[in-house]
Symmetry: C2
Subunit: 529 residues, 2 copies
């Protein structure tokens, strides 16, 4: 069933803080919507500033410029109605608002009522909640307005429908996690059917630091049928009748990583990235993602063998770089290691070799990638996965050294899954089968440490997912059948590694609970959970 | 004018998450208060969990254990009334509450009404606000109850007084910044006079990650006179008539640093710390603070000269360690630098030496202190000051490598001030005059970088303080008479260094706006403020 007016969803990818650039992009999409004959064009939440602007919202001149941009935009709107998000400073308070722009004027303003303050969200830090629904007349149709969180609880839509809305539009900045698009689709369908309204949901696209916005904008009719679905992750102007197919699970996650890397690198002005390639599965996936995000000419790899590197991993590192047509440097680290051994000989006299020497190797490699970064202006992408980051199997200032941690939120099991999927998609082994088939026990840092051996990855990942994403404690995990000794040891390791994660680079959130702003724990913490 | 009942303020230093330990300490102070003849003993906010427990509050078993601890405590209270803070889970919601314990029972519960969600605070993330004042009868006196933020706006105390309170007690976890104690004292005096009530304020003591709680608990009579003042920073049981003198400004800041270092190191179970000593003023102050916090036997210093180190700084480094009787290692870094030069020769062929080589030296030093840390279990204290952290004059994984950044929130001008004060206090130069007198231009990294020379420290610090703490923009700073070119360049450098600060270790907050949880800015950010 068609909506009572022609709506365009401007699924935009703004840059946080780039008010002038976002304004220009908004005007461009506004013109495209008018050209497509839309009567109403809906932009995402905080269109003009990007989301989340965080403490930029505490800056007087930031708010003033956002306000000036809104007025500039309003003056350019004619023959169409536009819904645009911006931070509204009024009477010394700040609101997360949407302006209704029509006939070169700000016709009305809606203030977001539900301000999320959980997970990655801190909206109560900056905004006051609004308290009133808003329904406006657009070309004879009654259009109700909501912003993001307003749709995640029943009350605001109930009030908007009760106020007479036939169409409820939602300006959103809803970040991605596994399957989030399907969750939103179900919520919107339920609301549409329950209130007999059309729902039109416009989400942000693109990456911002730890977050990726997956687009997936939607129009739903009062029967709960999807009448428009925007593409996932990319920018698009979405009109009714355009229904993109949702991606399969592996592709969805992979595209989230690609989007996160692309936007972090490009929005921060880097031309190339450098990745330490060990010949292992983590660096293989990191290189795949980087090449798909940036193109092979933007990716440099460097392999840094020591006496412990096998010929197998060295040749795999070469094969991956060759298959993907990326530059490869080979810089053996033995001489630097020898120099440190010499420097530290007195201080370490009488002491056995231990983790210290392993960490030193990792830090020499970290120094080398950072030296390449400094000399050539390349951004370092790190390769550690979430299983490692969880239990602290990563070296601070070593393999953790870099600007962006691509797999920070990807468990080891998923690393394998994504590499297999990408090989299959290609129809050939971009990553050699030997990398996939090599038993994890031989290839991973984990198993090199006899003093702290870990359970197999499937058990490890199950414990981690339950503890971190599921919020389950040891008792609950054991009741689910996970081995008690492993559960206790793994939980303890996760808790103790908090100090390392606090110094980790940002990375793409793909789970319901990523390390970073999403999960805030004290370092000084004696709780044994 | 004496309060209508004998009150003890239990200015306690809990450990976050150590519910059993905090319970034991609470019982101990409860006994001491009873022994001192108190009718009422007041503990700080969230007594049993420490503050802030952050996302531990999302854990089912954490809340259950805190609740069990409260019941255990209640059963031990007799012949006295105790006010104790804990997270109260009720009907699926969580409150930041205070329990009134008397006659082995929980007699009543007050729920914090004002939940701070600015600066370092995120209380809306976990708690629902309460909505009712609470006044209870203790030995015939009417006692009203508040928690921390409730006193920072007028309404809650007005309601509590209107409900008949003669004494208003406040359970607090109010973190330190310059002069915060005087601010609180003024607010409490105003409230006491305005409502004709006694105010009894009990604050936390000690350090927790980035925060230091300065104690400075207070009793104020209805005339606005201070009738009790607890010591700053340390634990104490404070009774009416005990009035500690507030510390002078330098000593207050210095003690904040000492407290922060002591508690971070000891609460995390470290026995010794290691500090890279350059012979400069920053490492000198860091060593002074560490020795005063932990004792000389817990502090190890290491000097790591290169060909660029002068004999003056090398002998100053030795003198500082000798004067403070701390262990000193000397590990020259030339050989490691030579090894890297060799390793990178091919990759760097045809390129001039630049910042890359400077950073490599800093990273070799970082590797050495981390190797000492790994081998001997020492915590690395870093030495960078706030002026450097602000503009990004610090090397990631180099001089920024470590567990705790002692001077992270101390501007360069204050570094000098504190060293001078500490020398004077000692009556001799613990830090040689040559370290203080050496012109900054010769001694500091800043001036080594001709491509990015900075304004003199007094101008730099004025710009930084206005921009960071003051929230002023370029226009406002220039209007205050600061040189426009410097202002623009410094602001730009602060904005661009956000990615470095994100990977910095925590450090002691002493200003109104510290880097860390207090100041949250996007890395990907094109706003030019």
């Amino acid at each position: 069933m068609a909506a009572p007016l022609r709506i365009a969803l401007a699924q935009m990818n703004p840059v946080v803080g780039d008010i002038e650039g976002n304004l220009a992009k908004t005007k461009e999409m506004l013109r495209a919507a008018a050209d497509a004959g839309a009567a109403l064009v809906v932009f995402p939440e905080l269109t003009l500033t990007g989301y989340p602007p965080e403490d930029l919202l505490l800056k007087r001149n930031f708010l003033a410029r956002a306000d000036a941009a809104l007025k500039d935009l309003a003056a350019s709107v004619q023959g169409i109605t536009a819904l645009v998000g911006w931070p509204e400073a009024a009477d010394g308070l700040l609101y997360n608002s949407a302006a209704v722009l029509t006939d070169r004027q700000i016709e009305a303003v809606y203030r977001k009522q539900l301000l999320p303050n959980y997970g990655v969200f801190d909206e109560r830090r900056w905004f006051e909640p609004g308290s009133e629904p808003l329904v406006v007349d657009v070309d004879g149709a009654k259009v109700g307005i909501e912003i993001c969180e307003d749709m995640w609880e029943p009350e605001p839509t109930r009030c908007t429908a009760a106020a007479g809305a036939e169409v409820v539009v939602n300006l959103s900045a809803s970040p991605y996690h596994f399957g989030k698009g399907r969750e939103r689709e179900q919520i919107l369908c339920t609301l549409a059917r329950e209130h007999g309204v059309h729902m039109a949901f416009c989400n942000l696209a693109g990456g911002q630091d730890e977050l990726v916005y997956d687009g997936h904008s939607l129009m739903i009719d009062p029967q709960g049928e999807v009448t428009a679905r925007g593409p996932q992750f990319g920018e698009a102007l979405v009109l009714e009748g355009q229904v993109a197919e949702p991606l399969e699970r592996e592709e969805e996650v992979y595209r989230a990583l690609v989007t996160g890397v692309h936007d972090y690198v490009r929005k921060n002005g880097f031309e190339r990235v450098v990745i330490a390639s060990s010949g292992g599965i983590d660096s293989a996936l990191t290189i795949l993602v980087a090449v798909d995000a940036l193109g092979p000419e933007s990716v440099v790899t460097v392999t840094m063998p020591s006496r412990y590197s096998s010929e197998g991993t060295r040749s795999d590192a070469r094969a991956i770089s060759e298959n993907l047509a990326v530059e490869l440097h080979e810089i053996p680290i033995e001489e630097a290691m020898a120099a440190y051994t010499e420097l530290l000989a007195d201080a370490f006299e009488g002491r056995e070799a231990d983790l210290t020497e392993e960490n030193l190797q990792a830090r020499i490699r970290g120094n080398i990638v950072m030296a390449l970064s400094n000399k050539f202006g390349w951004l370092v992408l790190t390769t550690g996965n979430k299983s490692e980051m969880s239990v602290g199997y990563a070296t601070l200032y070593g393999d953790m050294a870099g600007g962006f941690a691509v797999l920070k939120d990807v468990y080891k099991g998923w690393v394998y899954r994504l590499v297999r999927w990408r090989n299959e998609r290609e129809g050939r082994n971009l990553v050699p089968a030997s990398v996939l088939d090599r038993p994890p026990s031989a290839e991973l840092r984990f198993e090199q440490r006899d003093d702290q051996s870990l359970p197999p990855y499937d058990v490890l990942d199950a414990i981690l997912e339950g503890y971190i994403e599921g919020g389950e404690d040891a008792e609950q995990l054991v009741a689910r059948g996970l081995p008690e000794e492993d559960v206790r040891r793994v939980i303890r390791m996760v808790d103790l590694a908090e100090y390392k994660r606090r110094q980790a680079p940002p990375g793409v959130k793909i789970s319901t609970k990523a390390f970073g702003r999403d999960r805030r724990l004290p370092i000084t913490n004696r709780f044994r959970g």
